[in-house]
């Protein structure tokens, strides 16, 4: 306990936000490293042959889980732990609890990586982590909820800003959804039986984006962009519509992963209608935020954090258009089961939520350290590496998905198409190298900013 007090003191004010910032930056580097390993296996399966811990079937879930729970979620939470007290005109309920949460968060991730590496996987996408780790993650969300709610409870500001709605709803709904989706009452399998297991899995799986990453990222965008451009939010009404419609519509879409599976037709119909209906929450948000910053692109360009976040909103637009489109059964005949979907996942999780998380970190870093960023140049370089990397990767995976899907529809077998897609796997891994470099550059920049920053104090 004494050491935690020590760490908290050493981190100074805003210790919780700093701890989560560091967590996010470190696991971003790890997560992309595992992504590179997985991409390497697809190019040359014999290159790292017979290494149990990192073989493709293990490094892929490690990559995905680390991106979701190691990089993006802590990154967005770091911003929330900073902006919540400011928007509520109070202090964070407990910096020490925040630091403890971050330490336990890292511990959980380490245990999670080791479990998956050793093969303790429950074999359900996004719900691979074994029961004990599930409990720890649920507990961590409990700690975040407690800290956040006590801060809300002690607020001096009577009105809750839209970012607070999103942050509170995200952590509460995810805590519930995580336990439900991981079938936490069945420690052994962590799964239901038969087709209902698939329905629950994809309800949960899509809600990791819909009820965790998206609301947290929107909370960051709603905080960063009006501040960076010194503009009042365009419309309170649109904020309200966007918030409630997101929770209503997004929670319906999971079954669009199962359109070609024997599940009830009414369930598919609902998921398709709501997938298309996702344009409502998304466009409402985008109209609101883009009108807020209208004519202020110079301000956005001047602030590296806002630049990342604004880019995230553009990616949100593309993710939504593509997502609604590919939920249509006729489109899915081509796109299902192939790399198109992998491209979409990178667009949504990384290009939208991940880039927004990075923007949140760069926006708060000068404020929580009270010093300018260690290097704006490195952050800009990282921005371009990541933007080029992820754009090339998404376009590449979309093309290769179309190649695979159309070939299969035409009666060509999976095996026959493999030589055709090899080159695209090489391009994808090359694009991944850009993102990987960006992740390590970012880690260096953030560590320097937090701990070894020669810059003069700004406050």
């Amino acid at each position: 306990m004494a050491s935690i007090v020590n760490i908290t003191e050493k981190l100074g004010s805003q210790a919780a936000a700093k701890a989560f910032t560091l967590t996010s930056a470190v696991w971003f580097a790890f997560a992309t490293s595992f992504g590179m390993i997985a991409a390497g296996y697809l190019i040359a399966p014999d290159f790292m042959a017979n290494i149990e811990f990192i073989q493709f079937g293990r490094s892929r879930p490690i990559h995905v889980n680390l991106v979701l729970f190691g990089f993006v979620t802590p990154g967005l939470l770091a911003a929330a732990l900073y902006y919540a007290p400011r928007l509520l005109r109070t202090h964070l309920y407990s910096q020490r609890l925040g630091v403890v949460t971050a330490i336990l968060w890292n511990l959980t991730l380490v245990i999670g990586v080791i479990s998956l590496g050793m093969g303790y996987s429950q074999g359900r996408e996004y719900a691979e982590l074994p029961w004990a780790v599930d409990l720890m993650i649920a507990g961590l969300f409990g700690l975040v909820i407690f800290n956040l709610f006590m801060t809300v409870h002690r607020r001096q500001e009577p009105i809750l800003y839209v970012s607070i709605w999103y942050a509170c709803a995200a952590v509460v709904l995810t805590a519930v959804g995580y336990c439900l989706g991981n079938v936490i009452w069945k420690p052994d399998s962590g799964a239901l039986l038969g087709i209902p297991d698939a329905i629950l899995l994809w309800f949960y799986g899509h809600n990791i984006f819909g009820l965790l990453l998206t609301p947290l990222a929107l909370g960051v965008a709603y905080y960063v962009l009006p501040l960076a451009t010194r503009s009042p939010l365009y419309s309170h009404t649109l904020s309200l519509i966007g918030f409630w419609s997101l929770i209503v519509v997004y929670t319906h879409v999971g079954t669009h992963h199962l359109l070609q599976v024997p599940v009830p037709t009414w369930l598919k119909a609902i998921s398709i209608v709501d997938s298309v209906g996702m344009v409502i929450p998304v466009m409402v948000f985008l109209i609101n935020i883009w009108f807020t910053v209208k004519g202020k692109l110079g301000d956005i360009h001047a602030d590296i954090g806002a630049k990342f976040v604004f880019t995230g909103t553009i990616m949100y637009f593309f993710a939504n258009i593509q997502g609604s489109f590919m939920a249509l059964p006729q489109v899915q005949r081509v796109t299902h089961f192939n790399n198109w979907v992998v491209g979409h996942a990178h667009l949504g999780v990384f290009a939208f939520a991940g880039i927004t998380a990075l923007g949140g970190l760069y926006f708060i870093l000068p404020k929580i350290t009270k010093k300018p960023l260690y290097s704006r140049y490195l952050a800009d370089l990282q921005y371009w590496l990541i933007l080029i990397g992820v754009s090339v990767m998404i376009i590449d995976l979309t093309i290769v998905g179309l190649l695979q899907g159309n070939a299969w529809l035409n009666g060509e077998t999976v095996y026959r198409v493999l030589p055709e897609i090899h080159l695209y796997y090489v391009i994808r891994a090359s694009a991944g190298l850009f993102i990987l470099s960006g992740a390590y550059l970012g880690l260096y920049n953030i560590v320097r900013t937090l701990f070894f920053n020669p810059g003069a104090a700004t406050e």
Binding site: Q122, V152, L160, I164, L193, L200, V414, Y415
Partner: protein, 310 residues
């Protein structure tokens, strides 16, 4: 609308509850869990193999879900909900980097799977699946048992056929090259046996045959067609040594038929899903020309020459 903490959290939780009831609880409680006609319970060893399948993330590349418009591996049975009533977790999968495995049981004999797990490129030269040699012989065996159960009762039927013809093919192999060559010809229907390869030999067609050979055959039959490809040590009866076939009356039609339909019981799979007619004829002629040194391409009986033929 005043967004108090109660409204935000209470409202969000109420919405989530309603939607969980609609989108998860309702389909759960009304799900038809009647087993389909192929359903049976898995044996203990198959369950142990399923654990290995889960641990190694096979689901990230292999679906177990055949759709109404699929063509390839396993597409002889469209998935029904009753096929999955014993699966927990269900392994439908979200990608087909590899083939669908829902009807994999009995597609190949066990020894093919062992060679394939040791290194997938031993049996499938273009495969991008990582090797599983590190699992060790015992766990590869257990995993194979699970894979051979995919398709359940359908798989059992196919496995019976594999076992019957495995015994027959071993008998033929052990009776020596003469008997083996005779057996390989006799299991082909008469019409095919009388048929020469209808395509004339040309450099271009041999080139194409060479490409097909490298992508599909080289792992077992080896680069010089002597049956000493890298898969050979794991496979019994061993891959055919083509060079013994000279003068043993192996027509182009026999080669075509065996490539198209495979030789059930042996590691020789069928290629009718993967290779169109011309490709099968041309790789057959490549084998006849280079390895058997005895090609009947474009000899009598033959029909009218095709428009493009020289």
């Amino acid at each position: 609308m005043k967004m108090t903490p109660t409204v935000v959290i209470g409202g969000a939780l109420v919405i989530l509850t309603v939607i969980v009831l609609l989108m998860v609880a309702w389909p759960y409680s009304t799900a038809d869990m009647t087993p389909s006609e192929i359903y049976r319970e898995r044996t203990e060893v198959e369950k142990a193999g399923f654990k290995i399948y889960l641990q190694n993330g096979c689901v990230y590349c292999h679906s177990q879900s055949i759709r109404a418009f699929d063509w390839g591996h396993g597409a002889h049975r469209i998935a029904q909900s009753g096929d999955y009533v014993g699966d927990s977790p269900i392994q439908l999968g979200s990608a087909r980097t590899g083939v669908d495995l829902s009807q994999e049981g009995g597609e190949h004999p066990d020894d093919w799977h062992v060679a394939h797990f040791v290194n997938p490129r031993y049996t499938r030269p273009n495969s991008i699946m990582p090797p599983f040699r590190w699992l060790g012989e015992e766990r590869i065996g257990i995993l194979t048992q699970y894979v051979q159960s995919l398709g359940l009762k359908g798989a059992d039927k196919r496995m019976d056929r594999q076992r019957y013809w495995k015994a027959e093919s071993i008998k033929a192999y052990e009776a020596g090259p003469d008997a083996n060559a005779r057996w390989l010809a006799e299991i082909v229907p008469q019409g095919w046996r009388d048929l020469p390869n209808p395509y004339p030999t040309s450099d271009a067609s041999l080139q194409r045959g060479h490409v097909v050979y490298q992508q599909f055959c080289i792992g077992c039959h080896g680069p010089v067609g002597d049956g000493m490809g890298p898969a050979q040590p794991w496979i019994y009866p061993p891959p055919l040594n083509f060079t013994i076939l000279k003068g043993r009356e192996i027509s182009g039609g026999i080669i075509y038929y065996q490539l198209m339909n495979g030789i059930t019981g042996t590691a020789m799979p069928y290629f009718k899903h993967e290779l169109e007619s011309q490709k099968i004829w041309e790789v057959g002629n490549y084998v006849a020309e280079y390895f058997i040194n005895d090609s009947d391409a474009n000899t009598e009986p033959r029909g009218i020459d095709a428009a493009n033929e020289p």
